[in-house]
């Protein structure tokens, strides 16, 4: 099994942190994983994306030319990535900020009002974690427990005050369906 996922959105939406935390959770579960952020001039002008691969075997390429999952947090990412998704793939869309419909009939679109749910939790910055929670449920790639444990470890060191709200956000997304 090799599953590739692309995360994309505005810089500041925590797109890279979604990918990093997913990849790290994969590592904690003993899986093979790669995490590839966009870099350089590509990040000027304010967009960011990253690719995570999780697999039981060695990963040949960290690049995703036709990923199984794509998560878009804003409209430009929706337009840029919708045609990359493989047939039958899952497209998770932040429906609070994206208001267009896909032209593709061969993919599953999952609408997650991530920004709105984060706002209800009291901090729009955790929209990414709401989305990540939803993704974990949909993809069943890793367990939500590992993810939360992992985030406790990394965030606990730098911003312990934020652990709780992130955990809540993950659970909110996870319990959506």
């Amino acid at each position: 099994m090799l599953i590739k996922t692309i995360f994309s959105g505005f810089g500041g939406q925590g797109v890279l942190s979604m990918g990093y935390n997913l990849s790290r959770a994969g590592m904690l579960e003993g899986k093979m994983t790669t995490y590839l952020p966009s870099y350089g001039a590509e990040v000027r002008g304010g967009t960011a994306n990253c690719t995570v691969a999780i697999s039981d075997e060695e990963i040949a390429s960290p690049v995703a030319s036709s990923p199984e999952f794509i998560i878009v947090m804003n409209q430009p990412s929706f337009i840029r990535f919708q045609n990359l998704l493989q047939s039958g793939g899952v497209f998770l869309v932040n429906s609070s900020l994206v208001n267009i419909e896909t032209t593709r009939g061969d993919i599953e679109v999952v609408e997650v009002p991530a920004t709105q749910l984060a706002e209800e939790l009291g901090n729009t910055k955790v929209a990414n974690m709401v989305m990540l929670g939803a993704f974990v449920k949909k993809s069943n790639l890793i367990s939500i427990k590992t993810l939360i444990e992992g985030i406790k470890e990394t965030l606990g060191k730098t911003k312990p005050a934020l652990v709780d709200i992130n955990k809540k956000a993950l659970n909110t997304g996870y319990n959506l369906f």
């Binding site: 990849s23 994983t33 590839l36 350089g40 075997e57 060695e58 990963i59 040949a60 390429s61």
Partner: protein
């Protein structure tokens, strides 16, 4: 042992610190900035260690030259355009027989090129790169773990042979993260270097230099270097083989390309195509003998590089006209996919009638 999920650039930096690197001199260039930044964060405040962001790559490599003269484990890192500027210094390091580790996270060229991963500096790295008749040891990692392991080895080789060692990575390896373990917790105590200059105390004065007005003397220096290079060629060749035992077609690829090729070979095997791979880990010294040995049984070779064909010349040299070589390359920083390589591979396989 602890596993870390950090970028390839940071892996090299951390492994270097654990290998006892005391001095790092660098200059910003994408896609290797995380290495310089890691050193700024973790080496700059370490007791007895030095971090300097130089005003240019030329300056950085000459700081390495100075630190090496003083007997320290020193390194610098850059990416293709910056490595071009370092060539003068590398030539002097080789000539003066001074150890140093130089990291090149290759990007697309020529010129300013692109910041995407590429393998276009193979010639430059394996043929010395600067002026004069010399070689540098060239290590080619293909994974995060290998970045850690080969960095340690680079420092050891540099000291053992008193020669500059190049770690030839690429932008992709530098940027991506994958789980890595460091086999060394902390640097051991390194012995003091016999060649270091600190002042002629309790010994006659010493000179580190290359210039001579006597061609015969310079010839002797060159002979000495090449005796050393012959020894390195005998002792230090390293490679990985993958499913070569029953293979009818052998892929030869290194670094990130080898990794992509492995994905292609897995697909080929799933289609019952007998394809294997030889992956040189040392690009210089190159595994000539191993290729010759394989060619006694296998007729067809497939060289895959992210350039327009550079290592293929070494494969041709190894095969001495035996065997048949085909080539697939993508230049300029385009990252091929395993499926794409599989497509080309399988076409070759059928065209040569290997399925029969």
């Amino acid at each position: 042992m602890n596993k870390y999920l950090i970028s390839g650039n940071s892996v090299i930096a951390e492994a270097a610190i654990r290998a006892g690197c005391q001095c790092y001199f660098g200059y910003p260039i994408t896609p290797q900035n995380e290495l310089t930044e890691y050193m700024a964060l973790h080496l700059s405040r370490k007791e007895g260690c030095t971090f300097i962001q130089a005003e240019s790559e030329i300056s950085a490599i000459n700081m390495v030259y100075g630190a090496s003269i003083a007997g320290a484990r020193a390194m610098t890192s850059s990416s293709s355009p910056g490595i071009s500027l370092k060539q003068e210094g590398i030539s002097y390091l080789a000539a003066c027989e001074l150890p140093a580790v130089i990291v090149n996270m290759m990007r697309g060229g020529p010129g300013l090129g692109s910041i995407s991963a590429s393998q276009s500096d193979y010639f430059q790295a394996t043929r010395g790169g600067g002026h004069g008749d010399y070689r540098t040891i060239v290590l080619s990692p293909a994974s995060g773990q290998e970045l850690a392991d080969l960095t340690q080895r680079a420092f050891d080789l540099a000291d053992n042979y008193r020669t500059p060692v190049i770690i030839l990575g690429d932008g992709m390896l530098g940027q991506m993260m994958e789980p890595v373990e460091f086999h060394k917790e902390a640097p051991e105590n390194l012995s003091t270097k016999s060649w270091a200059l600190k002042g002629a105390k309790d010994r006659p004065s010493k000179i580190i230099k290359t210039f001579t007005s006597n061609p015969n003397e310079l010839e002797e220096i060159n002979w000495r270097l090449f005796r050393k290079y012959r020894l390195i060629e005998r002792e230090e060749v390293d490679y990985e083989t993958y499913m070569v035992e029953d293979a009818e077609l052998i892929v030869i690829a290194y670094g990130i390309a080898a990794r992509i090729a492995k994905g292609a070979i897995k697909k080929a095997r799933a289609h019952n195509l007998k394809v294997g791979m030889l992956r040189p880990i040392t690009l210089w010294p190159f595994p000539f003998k191993k290729i010759q040995e394989i060619s006694k049984r296998v007729q067809y070779f497939f060289v895959f590089e992210m350039n327009m064909g550079q290592m293929i010349e070494d494969v041709q040299l190894a095969l001495e006209g035996n065997g048949e070589i085909s080539f697939y390359g993508r230049p300029g920083g385009v990252i091929p996919t395993p499926s794409e390589v599989f497509r080309i591979l399988s076409r070759q396989y059928y065209q040569k009638g290997l399925n029969r």
